[in-house]
Subunit: 234 residues, 2 copies
């Protein structure tokens, strides 16, 4: 069950300066399940549902997870996408409450499940780790507050432009510079907080104006400058 310190790639990865686990001692690191093989989850798998009790958090090694809430009439509101090195579900664990979001795999994912007691032990006993968790939560909170301001004040066009920029900044591009992440029009709408038809019309408009290129679900951003202007980002 020990982590193979000779597997330098993975060990270095877990202890690298940007890693959430950078401040763990070797002993603490070995208390976590990273010595085993990761779990594999196919596209479409639900990791947990809003309202359920979860007994630990997930560390994403590969793939993309959609985090969303279900609003009125069952309409989903996408809160964020988790990507490799992110952790999900830790909030419910730490506040010891039912999950307030659902998590669905949208790109095949390998991930590790870490039991709640491990996390709580680390938070209580390793002040630096605890600070990192707090910083992470604060960052998410700040982003949430910004998004509240945007969604309350900006038009749908501005928000869609902003989301496209956000996706470009946060997800890899393929060899032809198309966004790797595969989203349906409905999912885009559920991020922006609008109707599917509105997203379709605005994407067509952006395409017509030479700002983006579309190949089915694949999106390539051609004119980031115009898009930034459209998004009213200063």
């Amino acid at each position: 069950m020990k982590i193979d310190h000779n597997d330098t790639s993975f060990y270095n990865f877990l202890t690298s300066p940007n890693s959430l686990f950078r401040h763990l001692t070797d002993e603490e690191l070995e208390s976590l399940p990273f010595g085993r093989a990761p779990e594999f989850h196919k596209r479409g798998t639900i990791l947990y549902n809003e309202g359920s009790r979860i007994s630990g958090f997930y560390w994403i090694q590969s793939g993309i997870i959609k985090i969303y809430k279900t609003g009125v009439d069952g309409k989903e509101q996408i809160i964020r996408f988790a990507k490799p090195c992110d952790i999900i579900g830790f909030r419910s664990v730490l506040s010891n409450e039912l999950a307030c979001t659902s998590a669905k795999v949208i790109e095949d994912s390998k991930n590790y499940f870490v039991p709640a007691e491990n996390l709580i032990f680390l938070v209580k006993n390793n002040g630096n780790f605890s600070m990192d968790i707090i910083r992470l939560t604060c960052k998410e909170l700040e982003e949430a507050n910004s998004y509240i301001t945007d969604i309350a004040q900006k038009t749908v066009r501005e928000r869609l432009a902003e989301i496209l920029i956000h996706l470009k900044n946060n997800f890899d591009l393929d060899k032809e510079n198309f966004l790797q992440i595969n989203l349906t029009r409905e999912e885009l709408a559920n991020m922006v907080g609008t109707a599917t038809e509105s997203v379709i019309r605005l994407l067509s408009e952006f395409k017509h104006d030479g700002i983006i290129e579309l190949h089915g679900r694949k999106i390539k951003i051609l004119d980031i400058k115009s898009l930034t202007r459209l998004a009213s980002i200063f």
Copy 2:
């Protein structure tokens, strides 16, 4: 500079089960400035501005503080109101970043300013306190996510109804059951994320329908059931 343990009211208050400071040792408690007199700030005072660096957090003893972000065209978006026993500004301290919100006194307030190093020391060295801080942040994050869902999916009418219920649940009523908190129509609009005129028209509508009563800025909720239905809360 010691806290007067004979002042049982304040001492018991700080160590009561709901207090953020419940897990502090007497020694830790005395390292905080609660032994001094609180600072007094009049309505209208800005405690800190978005983008500024703050060197500590505030613990509110009395009064109400408006926490808001400034969006496009300088329009403010109210994130929340802080009331007695709340702390504000701690996120920027913990993540060591510039303030991402502004804080303005809207009801005369007494509060204590606690230097950043005190907070960081406690988080790193007192696991239970650290867990409480994390829980607090997680709670705020969950509320922010809920609000994102609401604002993205609900109509202005639904949101206003919801905000009124929220105010009723979170702020005291005076002897005639009017909401204690004094908000301009513009501030209400800046919470809901709409135009001032829309708030005015909807409030008149609610009043006409016998759901609320208005006396200037004072609001009394007459029919919480109808209001809940209007808010589409399930």
